[in-house]
């Protein structure tokens, strides 16, 4: 028996020889680095990794990875990725998308890849703007966003990526920020561990067209008070001294922020995160400043049968190609007759 010892992979093994061409200071660099750092620890085979993207700044991502990569067409990466898993479910497929690519032109495909629970990871880079087409407002832009196509401010209400995913039936939904390296890496690990469609929304800063759009909760000065880092089984606490929490306001179904130690409120009064509950996840995903902090981390994780598993139970998975005998039998099914 041959025993092969694999040399441990490092982040450099996942970097292609192509020069990265994002704008200097773009948040995409940080996400790329975080993933290249996370992958060596995931026990993955380099050749099994496939990065599939659509169109947009973030969709250039596959060119910078030293794995299989397919830069497809605008919005369609989930559909191409689904086909890849249908052909070979051993492949480790990552979909890279943005807010325009995933939630506007490709919204339908994102909806369906999530509800089908195809076994892949989706990283949605949300910068609330169209970068590659030079700065038009996107489906996640807040009302009033001034852009070349909305000089008087946008009037469309933004979509929440995480709530969209939860509504579509996603079984894994997480959120992170481009600048939170260790947190990002952890989210990638969790997403990869989950069998089925894993959706990670990454708040990513566009230095050129939308700089500082997330500063109200990512800025160092406000981060502690405006970020709620959730963890399964742990109380929903935030603030510099972890002295703020969430609870259900007595006599209502509303969530409110409470200060521990005030009005007799103690840690026992604070809600505890249950990542297996879709309702909890929906509430967390809906929290918005200034009244609430932004929830980050694994909002929801409740594994169920993946698309591949369901196909396999119907013996519709990956049977080998048919031989002549099989085909002759197929063609002769049903009524036949012989002419002598």
């Amino acid at each position: 028996m041959n025993v092969t010892t694999k040399t441990p992979l490092t982040d450099k093994d996942f970097a292609s020889d192509q020069e990265v061409r994002w704008c200097p200071g773009c948040g995409d660099y940080a996400v790329l680095k975080a993933l290249q750092r996370a992958l060596p620890k995931m026990d993955v085979e380099k050749e099994k990794l496939v990065f599939v993207s659509g169109i947009g700044c973030s969709s250039r991502f596959p060119y910078y990875m030293a794995n299989y990569g397919f830069h497809t067409i605008h919005g369609r990466a989930p559909a191409v990725a689904t086909g890849i898993t249908l052909a070979n479910s051993d492949l480790d497929v990552w979909v890279i998308s943005g807010d325009g690519d995933g939630l506007s032109i490709g919204g339908n495909h994102l909806l369906h890849v999530l509800r089908r629970n195809v076994d892949l990871q989706i990283l949605l880079f949300n910068n609330e703007i169209y970068g590659l087409t030079k700065g038009q407002y996107s489906p996640t832009s807040r009302v009033g966003t001034k852009s070349p196509s909305t000089p008087r401010g946008s009037i469309d209400h933004p979509i929440s990526a995480a709530r969209f995913a939860l509504g579509a039936g996603a079984r894994f939904v997480a959120r992170s920020v481009d600048t939170l390296q260790p947190h990002l890496t952890e989210m990638f690990h969790r997403a990869h561990d989950h069998r089925g469609a894993s959706f990670v929304e990454i708040f990513q800063n566009c230095l050129v067209y939308n700089d500082g759009v997330f500063a109200h909760f990512t800025d160092r000065k406000v981060a502690a008070d405006r970020q709620l880092h959730v963890a399964h089984g742990k109380p929903l606490l935030f603030g510099e001294n972890k002295d703020k929490g969430l609870r259900i306001k007595p006599g209502t179904m509303r969530v409110e922020v409470v200060n521990l130690g005030e009005n007799g409120v103690g840690e026992d009064d604070v809600l505890v995160h249950d990542e297996t509950d879709r309702t909890v996840a929906s509430v967390l995903a809906a929290l918005e400043p200034p009244e609430f902090p932004v929830a980050l981390g694994v909002l929801f994780c409740k594994p169920g049968p993946s698309h591949e598993d369901a196909l396999a139970t119907q013996q519709a998975g990956e049977a080998p190609p048919p031989g002549p005998a099989d085909l002759n039998a197929l063609l002769r099914r049903g009524h036949t007759w012989t002419v002598a």
């Binding site: 596959p62 397919f70 497809t72 689904t82 085909l327 002759n328």
Partner: protein
């Protein structure tokens, strides 16, 4: 006994015993409400006809509405079959027998019937109300409407209910067996065995045996009626001898079935798994239905969320080393256009089935047309050539599908296969091939990392290597963005784009050297008139040319399978004819291509009525050519 063409066979016999009249071929049309089970009736009659050994061709003609309001003309469903002791190439110009189960069916179909043909009408369905609903001001049974025909007026409704008197079914349920009563009568007319239909009914209604038995009772009653009733002076029915078919094992097959099985067989011959991404659309869904449930044959049939996802999932599958196939009709193909462009740019195998239907936008979804030829050949942004091939008949779909697999995998290109609504739904007998005897399709995946360049081309074919994602050592990136001619890296170099564009065009053009030279179906390879067709006009053109040749007319039939690129000798071949006539069920698409490519004065014969060409229409056009 005298064998005559049915078209001139009189119904009356001299007085005396019932005698079966032997005829060479017959056209029968069943018509009724879309809820009357006309298509089932037709398919059962088709099966019995096939089993008796006749050659045949069918034409199911039904409305887009699933259950249009009862008794309306727009809710009429019809099924036409032409069968005979000779080779049958079309579903027939004019029915010799029309079975009309209500006044609306009579109203819609009577004009098509041959003058002197037989019309069986259910008088029980001809109430004043239903006649008005069908748009009759008078009563066609009394006002001479039927006088050009031989009418057989039978209260089929009443007879069916009487036959089912003992069954514990509502009157409405009993009336549902009217179609089987009529089928029984027509079985008697043509001397058919009822047993296969009886078995089929028992299997179909296995969970409701009382329904099966009621239908069988109706079928038997209709048959007995024919045997015992006095009809038109001793009419004893017809006899159609078996056709002189090549020995072998046969079945009936529709175009969609043959296409589906051809794809599975092609994939098998290439030793590939197949991923079939599709979105429901009339009249293409039957291909999806035929492939769903063939998991054990290496087929994953995927009903995507839309047409775009359908084509993109197929492209993803090809990227991962399976054969990616997608299927739709014209409007759906339009949605797939950008995806097809991606497969052209990424140079991946992709098969796109277009079961054409009539009209722009939604058009006439259940009616047939050949108007997607431009879309197939030209319908994409930029210089984006693909291979285009077309099936001529239901059975031809099998070979065409295999050819599509061969071209897509050998040339790493999308191949568009043109079928149409007529071919998809029509059925004909098929001599089932022995797959052991078919030529295998050699597909070699690249696995050697030594010297690997993703877009380096094979010198002979111009195709790049096919690498299944997941192959160790060959990790690379591809995409729809223009790429370096060897490394596949993003390239904005102007000279590189020129070379890549030329290479993509050259690769497709080169297929012309890998397909057979264009042959002549019928007639000489030079002469006065060439009738040039493609797709489902094959039958009517072939019959028309045969008839004209029998009269001594100098005319040949040429039929294209390879639409793009065209066979390398086609220009020279067509140049040998004084007239080139191109019948098409569109406003003139192939004819434009021929005029453009070969600078010849080809003339179109065009028709877009949602109905196939009649033999007589093509004959007339050839006769009308003036020197």
């Amino acid at each position: 006994m005298v064998v005559t063409e049915a078209v001139s066979a009189p119904l009356e016999e001299k007085s005396g015993a019932k005698v079966r009249r032997e005829v060479l071929s017959v056209v029968v049309r069943f018509a009724g409400d879309s809820g009357d089970g006309i298509q089932l009736t037709g398919s059962q009659f088709t099966m019995s006809t096939a089993l008796i050994g006749n050659d045949l061709a069918t034409f199911p003609d039904f409305p887009a509405e699933i259950r249009a309001p009862v008794g309306t003309t727009y809710g009429v469903s019809a099924f036409q079959i032409n069968f005979g002791a000779r080779g049958i190439k079309t579903a027939g110009d004019e029915p010799d027998l029309l079975v009309a189960l209500n006044p609306a069916a009579l109203k819609v179909n009577l004009d098509a019937v041959r003058r002197g043909g037989v019309v069986v009408i259910d008088t029980g369905a001809c109430t004043p109300r239903s006649l008005r609903k069908a748009g009759y001001e008078g009563n066609p049974l009394e006002d001479g409407t039927l006088s050009p025909y031989q009418a057989i007026e039978i209260d089929i409704s009443q007879h069916t209910q009487e036959a089912l008197g003992d069954f514990d079914l509502s009157q409405k349920e009993k009336l549902r067996s009217k179609n089987m009563w009529s089928l029984g009568l027509v079985y008697w007319m043509y001397g058919r065995e009822r047993q296969p239909t009886i078995e089929w009914l028992r299997a179909k209604f296995a969970k409701r045996p009382e329904i099966a038995e009621a239908n069988i009772a109706a079928l038997n009653a209709g048959h007995a009626f024919g045997e015992t009733a006095e009809m038109s002076g001793g009419f004893g029915g017809y006899s159609v001898a078996p056709a002189d078919l090549e020995p072998g094992v046969y079945r009936t097959v529709s175009g969609s079935e043959a296409l589906a099985w051809g794809l599975v067989t092609g994939a098998g011959l290439a030793d590939l798994r197949m991923v079939f991404g599709s979105y429901p659309i009339t009249p293409a869904s039957s291909v999806l239905h035929a492939l769903a449930g063939l998991g054990e044959f290496g087929v994953t049939a995927f009903q995507a969320e839309d047409e775009i996802s359908a084509v993109c999932s197929a492209i993803g599958a090809s990227y991962a080393g399976a054969l990616g196939v997608t299927s739709s009709s014209g409007p759906g193909i339009a949605l797939k256009t950008e995806g097809i462009g991606l497969a052209i740019s990424a140079e991946l195998p992709l098969i796109v089935i277009d079961t054409q239907r009539a009209g722009p936008s939604t058009g006439l979804p259940t009616k047939t047309e050949q108007s997607d030829l431009y879309q197939a050949v030209f319908g994409r942004n930029a210089d984006s050539p693909v291979a285009v091939i077309a099936a001529r008949s239901p059975t031809d779909c099998f070979e065409v599908a295999i050819e599509a697999v061969r071209l897509a995998t050998k040339y790493m290109t999308p191949v568009i296969v043109l079928s149409d609504g007529y071919i998809a739904n029509a059925a004909e007998p098929w001599r089932i091939p022995d797959v052991e005897q078919l030529t295998s399709i050699p597909v070699k995946f690249r696995t050697d990392p030594e010297g690997f360049l993703p877009f380096k081309r094979n010198e002979e074919t111009g195709a790049r290597d096919w690498v299944a994602a997941g192959t160790p050592g060959l990790e690379h990136r591809i995409g729809g963005i223009e790429k370096d001619e060897e490394t596949g890296h993003i390239s904005y170099d102007p000279a590189n784009h020129q070379r890549m564009t030329d290479a993509r065009i050259g690769k497709i053009a080169g297929i012309a050297d890998d397909i057979p030279e264009q042959s002549v179906e019928l007639g000489k390879d030079r002469g006065r008139v060439a009738v040039v067709g493609w797709g489902s006009t094959y039958g009517p053109i072939n019959r028309a040319v045969t008839k004209l040749q029998d009269e001594g007319v100098d005319v040949s039939h040429i039929h294209l399978r390879h639409i793009w690129p065209m066979p390398r000798n086609l220009g020279d071949l067509l140049a040998g004819f004084k007239h080139v006539l191109v019948p098409e069920m569109n406003a003139g698409q192939l004819v434009t291509l021929l005029r453009d490519k070969y600078l010849i004065d080809a003339q179109g014969l065009n028709k877009v009525t949602g109905q196939p060409f009649k033999i007589a229409e093509i004959e007339a056009a050839v006769r009308g050519l003036e020197d």
